[in-house]
Symmetry: C2
């Protein structure tokens, strides 16, 4: 009766789908992977239909009973809708309708949630964010059966819950709705998607342009502000995956309803860029665990499943199917999900290409970058990550120029990630543990330079957020991949510089990685370089005195208080190495430090009265000087195969590491035992347009910019 229905994002008319399913049944005997998955989903919903679905009066905050029940109900409505769309079976429509009718009774009786967060209150949930997520799920389910409801049921559901909730999330919560922030994106998506389904264009406009519809807030502004031009999200991939979800779903709804907006071309295709950038920020299926990341998170997350389904539906890029093949086999229960599995079955997939890439940070791309070097396009080729980004707001870690090193599908030199057991009630309610602040965020927990046992920016994230490192170089120089950056604000009066180079070796052998890290200052400092290596220590070529009957804490504060001092070397000079075993490969780090230094082995776990840490270990190189330079060469080698009983351990292949102070630069030369030589020049003046002309080892070397490499 005069109701305009706009097609929403993830759904299509049911009859089409059913016909398609019937047709496919005729042409092939076997059940498609997608049908099998939907059958499993149907079994789970069928089981839920056997008992009453509680719609309780809101009482609990996050994690509590009413919170979890409402979350599950939202998902149930969504899934029942997808099943109705897939099968055409009325029972799914009726099941979802009845739950929604209960909500239509409950919602009008609610005020603010009794445990509401004052700044971002909800009614059904303690915070508005959960309410927006709930509506995003529910409206997608509702769209699949809205046309097939009686007018009375439709009226009751929309008057009772959908409209008042959309009102609450927009005009009722202006401080969130108009905020340029992830929570605002969820609210915009919820309200805008509701607008499309209920035929309320004004909701759509407000969602796109802000409550006052002037474009100073709303979804488009969020697209402008929340990602860098390369699709990097300032908080890092763990949060990026979550932030991406409302962008993906609302964009898809816009595309279906108002294709003339060309939303997927907006800002040079920022949504698709962000989806691809998220995949790129993973290794062997897991996201780089920078900032407050849960390390288990990776490509299998539901947000990325939506992202890939939508991106493939738009682009038909076969390498996105390759990314899906790196997931766990299940897809989202939508026509776009079906398309993924059908096209994979039809042999259309091509491998997703992981790349060396610089993901610039900042809305204008001028606030540092996350730099990734890879030895090949596989998800488990050797990879090095340098974090030269902004702090990443309140969830950021103090790890300027921090390094991660991966090889052979394993972490080799790693970041602890967040000190947290997600949703484990017994562990501080599943929230971030106190040790996340006292250790996880601190600089010593990372693979970067620590000065005077303090964290970067003295551990003040708001201070850190004002600055970002300068990228000195990203790219290929004479066959060597290079990433370099510097920052002079992390410590007062100290400039930190890092150059990481990935040097190819013969076919079939992983590249080696040269890492130059230096701190320069006029005054004396203690410089610590922690290397959080994984695996089992095999040998060091320098002596170590191990604590045998008593272990003491390594330091007093800024994360040091959580380290046991396991071993210490005598004073060392020049080049040393250490080897360890991870899985079936050995790793050797050969290193040299300007001036005398000591090596410590530490173990995590001191001052941990609640047993909140995993067991981790580190090598810490310590030198005291005005300026300190650390040159390290990482390599993987050998084989530890217990089935074949073959062990090959080659040890360091580095002949010599030498440092030459030249006229306008310093030359770092790594000579390998096989005769290969690589020299990295780091200019004193790091400006990009500065040209250099230096005589070194009887050769003239010329370049412009901060870094040069010869081999």
């Amino acid at each position: 009766a005069g109701v305009t229905v706009l097609a929403l994002g993830l759904s299509q008319a049911c009859s089409e789908t059913v016909q398609a399913a019937e047709k496919s049944d005729i042409s092939t005997q076997s059940v498609s992977a997608f049908d099998a998955q939907m059958t499993a989903l149907a079994a789970s919903i069928d089981a839920r239909m056997l008992t009453d679905v509680p719609v309780p009066v809101p009482a609990d905050a996050g994690g509590g009973y009413t919170h979890e029940q409402h979350k599950q109900n939202g998902k149930t409505i969504y899934e029942a809708g997808m099943l109705y769309q897939h099968t055409g079976d009325e029972k799914y429509k009726n099941f979802a309708r009845d739950i929604l009718l209960d909500y239509a009774e409950l919602y009008p009786t609610l005020g603010l949630h009794p445990e509401h967060k004052p700044s971002t209150a909800g009614q059904l949930f303690w915070q508005g964010l959960n309410e927006a997520v709930w509506l995003v799920y529910v409206i997608q389910g509702y769209e699949t059966f809205r046309d097939d409801l009686s007018p009375q049921a439709r009226e009751k559901i929309e008057t009772g819950v959908l409209n008042p909730m959309a009102d609450f999330l927009s005009i009722g919560s202006p401080q969130t709705f108009d905020r340029i922030h992830n929570h605002g994106t969820w609210a915009a998506a919820a309200v805008g998607m509701t607008g499309y389904v209920l035929g309320q264009q004004e909701r759509v406009e407000k969602s796109l342009l802000g409550l006052s519809q002037d474009g100073e807030a709303g979804f488009l502004k969020q697209m402008d502000m929340l990602f860098s031009p390369d699709g990097y999200y300032a908080e890092g991939p763990y949060y990026q995956r979550y932030a991406m979800m409302p962008f993906v779903l609302f964009s898809q709804a816009i595309e279906k309803n108002e294709p003339e907006r060309k939303i997927f071309e907006y800002r040079d295709g920022i949504v698709l860029k962000a989806i691809r950038a998220t995949v790129q920020q993973s290794y062997a299926g897991k996201f780089f665990p920078i900032n407050d990341a849960i390390r288990e998170k990776g490509l299998n997350t539901v947000e990325l499943k939506y992202g890939l389904a939508v991106a493939y539906d738009l682009t038909n890029d076969p390498t996105l199917l390759g990314a899906v093949q790196l997931q766990d086999g299940s897809v989202v229960p939508t026509p776009e999900g079906r398309k993924l599995l059908d096209d994979i079955a039809a042999g259309k997939a091509k491998p997703f290409e992981f790349k060396s890439l610089e993901l610039r940070d900042g809305r204008n791309g001028d606030e540092g970058a996350l730099m990734v070097l890879r030895s090949g396009p596989e998800s488990d080729a050797s990879a090095v990550v340098m974090k030269a980004t902004t702090q990443g707001l309140g969830h950021g870690h103090f790890d300027k120029l921090g390094l991660l090193y991966y090889d052979n599908a394993s972490e080799v030199v790693a970041d602890y990630g967040a000190v947290r057991f997600l949703n484990v009630e017994a562990k501080f309610g599943g929230r971030y543990l106190p040790e996340n602040d006292s250790y996880g965020k601190q600089t010593i927990a990372h693979n970067t330079l620590v000065v005077d046992e303090k964290s970067h920016y003295d551990g003040d994230w708001r201070e850190s957020q004002k600055f970002s490192p300068d990228v000195l170089k990203f790219g290929n120089i004479n066959g060597v991949q290079v990433a370099a950056a510097e920052v002079d604000t992390a410590y007062e009066g100290v400039n930190l510089q890092r150059v990481v180079a990935m040097v190819p070796r013969e076919d079939g052998i992983a590249p080696y990685v040269i890492d130059i890290l230096r701190g320069q200052s006029g005054d004396g400092h203690v410089y610590d370089l922690p290397v959080h290596y994984k695996g089992q220590l095999i040998e060091t070529n320098f002596p170590l005195e191990h604590e045998t009957t008593q272990m003491n804490v390594f330091g007093k504060a800024n994360g040091y208080q959580h380290l046991w001092q396991r071993a210490v070397s005598p004073e060392l000079e020049g080049q040393q190495d250490m080897s360890w075993l991870i899985g079936d490969k050995f790793y050797t780090m050969t290193f040299a430090v300007d001036g005398p230094y000591k090596a410590y082995l530490t173990e995590l776990g001191a001052n941990d009265p609640n047993h909140n840490f995993r067991k981790e270990q580190a090598l810490i190189l310590r030198t005291e000087a005005d300026n300190a330079g650390f040159v390290s060469v990482y390599e993987s080698h050998g084989r530890y195969d217990n089935d074949e009983e073959v062990t090959v351990f080659d040890g360091s292949s580095v002949e010599q590491i030498s440092t030459d102070k030249l006229e306008t630069a310093t030359a770092y030369t790594v000579s390998m035992k096989n005769g290969d030589v690589v020299t990295i020049y780091l200019a004193d003046d790091t400006q990009a347009d500065q040209t250099h002309k230096i005589s070194h080892k009887n050769k003239q070397v010329e370049w412009s910019g901060a870094v040069h490499v010869t081999q």
Copy 2:
């Protein structure tokens, strides 16, 4: 020229195979998995053919250059032979022939190896064992092309190396050849298989019956003595896998050449029993790491690949194909290997059925047993292992009644295995590390009772070897799987008893495991129960005081000197619990101890100056009393799913653990929160024929034997 050729074990006439291959090429377009594997092998041998194959004068002991080169040459001859048999290509025959001709030059010039082990010397290798293994490989390769050699080449090879080596290994090394020991089996197999190929029946007879051919030594005697009637090998599965190899290969040769011996029926089919028993002693692909085991070893080992190929060829048992499917996909390069892959491709495989089983130890089966309880036939169903076997000779560990607990494809309560990095030169030449004796073998490194901080039998394996535990019960009682044993010789004046019960729960939920362990003595003792749990501690329901700034060593000797004391509880009474996380599941151990006790958390790594240990942890329950009883209930529960962001942590489902001393038995009752109750009765008099009639909780309970269960 009058040479009788007997068909040997793993080979068939080449022409037959080639014909079969051609036929299969016609019928199917795609390359079979076996052909693909042989093509890869051919590529590796083709590469080796491009350079000279060194046949150096023996100089080095195990691990050194000449040792490794000769080992590799033996394998090359074998593989070239298999390729010749598979392809019919003369180049493989010629390649192997030329290497053998070099050996025919070298071998006659050799005396004892310059680094020979006095007791078991070799000529080509430092120990005779390696020489026997070399000949076992080489004679199989040689058999494939012997008929196609020129008479001159044949004569030279047999006179120069095969006959003198077989002589050296038999009449030249009587102390090994006639010894009832794994080394003797290898020698018998090498000499006997050579006898078949060269048509020398006397060699065969000596191999089967000993040098004097009276049956007091030789292969048949070894079959009588080295396995228990259930196919258990006294040193445990890690060594069993290795010991099995010559039994399998020589038996196969006997079967092919003299089927009338019915060698595979010998001793009730002991060889096939041993093969199956080896598979049964694994969990999720890895062998139970009891005794001096390298933990990485499992079903993928080459010995088991031969075992399964031969066993399937004989029996066509489709569940053996299921065992092959648990391996890594590659098979031995023989017709029997081909048959495995072809039959798997033809859909003939059925899942291998893992079983609850008692593997009796001792040649007569009366020296204790390894007892395995499983919740289902899958390789990763819940499993509990109780080690109530003999010591296991010099490689045995002092772990009488030791327990392992597995679930969800993970170790939950584990054994350290051997302290060793196999073949890693930097780690003590790859040999057993000193910490294997000082910790790995000690009782505190295991999940069993330690009395007065000493190891069983005071750590004297020869003393331990004289005794074995008594199995009190193995089987099903009223729906509960039970394993029980006792031993009263491990400590003077102390009787140790253990009852382990696996109690099923509803469908789809892992069973819980009740573990009763008690020590009984007239005198006061300190009783320690270590529980070497894996994963991350989540919570304890009792307080623990953690060391925060200094950790001290837990004890002084017998392995205790390697433990850091991480935390200690106040004095506890009654029932307590502890929960931890492994992968995506939680585990809770609910326990009660007779009388007051303390709980300690320890970490491995004290007195480890060379960093030889992995990081491991334990809970240790300690009580001081004349008699001590520990009752523990293990259960797996919940879910920790970071992709779906679902965490379910249920904690202990045990309402109460109670102990009632009755007239002739003790009753241990576990009451679950859901109302389920299980009572385990352990009789004071553990004799099997003793009958009991007891009134307990107003019910009459009657049974005979040591253990009874009601629920």
